[in-house]
Symmetry: none
Subunit: 251 residues, 2 copies
């Protein structure tokens, strides 16, 4: 029992620019109800404690007090190696959308050795593509007519599916190896981008488009730390080779 | 599709003495999100419309306006033939507790020819035994340490399970994009290998080892045809660039 519950400690709920402190409080309560302990927000300032605490109730107020606040998403996600972005359903245009239930089932094996984050966008507009690019998977709650849920409800349903799939209904899972963290991945993307600019594969007009395509398939495959290092090694070697080509030497 | 959705019209969400109009509004929005159309409250008077409508948002406000209000539960439940009472988990003392998911699965066969009600108690104390006696089944959302959910969240999770079990899971899954064929993948690997030899990343002594590492992570990710073409495009561009480097031109 203890082991099953403890995987929940490896999961964080991340709210990006939440507008209403009440929604943060409600998220804290839902997280607490479902055995999650880590709440992170991306926001320029810590919101009014009173309004958050009221919705959290005294039982979950400790999640408000231990909540981490970052000003940028990439900083908030740095230590995590599996990032799930939550969106309203958009049909196929957003790519690899799955339901929270599918996501939880697929990620179960990662959890013993990796930290995962579930990222929720602001109330009025959800996550932007700029934010979704950090995500390895996209989770969309099925709704009638593609209507979008209230933020607090979306958080509640995700927390519920996590608890249900990982603890309540726990199946035997084979733990997966440690995956590359956002910090390592972002370093790799920078390296890759540099190399692709060098060979003019990435040019001004299509730069972001192709880079997002590349992020999407690398994001899907849960690179290990070692693999992200291999790719950086290739980029490094390539850059070295470019700088020395014509001189007929090898490093 | 039409038939599956229409069973949702046979289900009502019933709130017994809800205290906060905001929770009624949130329940209306959740019901609407999940394709439910019928909201009933048991209360001595109709609550403030403004506060309910704000949480319902304009999309679900029609559920507020068509909401039925009864002064007694037995009167409210009169037309229903399958009543589910929702409770916080109490262990076994309450008898036939099941999860919402189990309940939905069990009741699916009843719905075409029967009307069902999901009954939720007041925020502070839940349903009394006096109210539970009308219920054919008791539904309890699994939570950590038997903690109890906010009313709006409990309604949201039940509506979600209804939509998921009765509509979403019945539908055919959205087809995934066409994956790259072995023919396309092998062409891509050849191209990749050529580029990696060129930059002396792959050398005689470790060639197979690194190439296998690379195949392993590309193999995991079910590349689409388009994505395998992007990778070949990068390799092609790189090879071209190598052959023309120093001449300061682009293709």
């Amino acid at each position: 029992m203890l082991t099953e519950r403890s995987v929940l400690n490896n999961i964080a709920v991340v709210l990006v620019h939440p507008k209403y402190p009440e929604n943060i409080g409600a998220a804290a309560r839902s997280a607490f109800n479902m055995g999650l302990t880590r709440l992170i927000i991306v926001r320029d300032e810590r919101p009014d404690r009173e309004a958050m605490a009221k919705m959290a109730t005294h039982k979950a107020v400790h999640l408000i007090d231990s909540m981490e606040v970052y000003t940028s998403l990439v900083e908030a996600l740095a230590p995590f190696s599996y990032i799930v972005g939550t969106t309203a359903r958009r049909g196929r245009q957003r790519g690899m959308e799955r339901t929270p239930r599918q996501i939880v089932s697929e990620m179960a094996g990662l959890l013993p050795n990796n930290h995962a984050a579930f990222v929720f966008g602001p109330e009025n507009c959800g996550l932007a593509n700029e934010e979704l690019k950090y995500c390895h998977a996209t989770s969309a709650i099925p709704t009638a007519d593609f209507s979008s849920l209230n933020l607090a409800q979306a958080v509640a349903i995700h927390c519920y599916e996590l608890y249900y799939g990982l603890v309540h209904e726990k199946k035997d899972i084979t733990p997966a190896p440690q995956a590359a963290s956002t910090f390592e991945l972002e370093g790799m993307y920078e390296h890759l981008e540099e190399a692709l600019v060098k060979i003019t594969f990435l040019e001004e007009k299509n730069h972001a488009y192709w880079m997002n395509n590349i992020r999407r398939f690398f994001g899907r495959m849960q690179l290990s730390s070692k693999e992200s290092n291999i790719i950086r090694g290739i980029c490094r070697q390539f850059m070295w080779h470019q700088d020395h080509s014509g001189k007929d030497t090898t490093p």
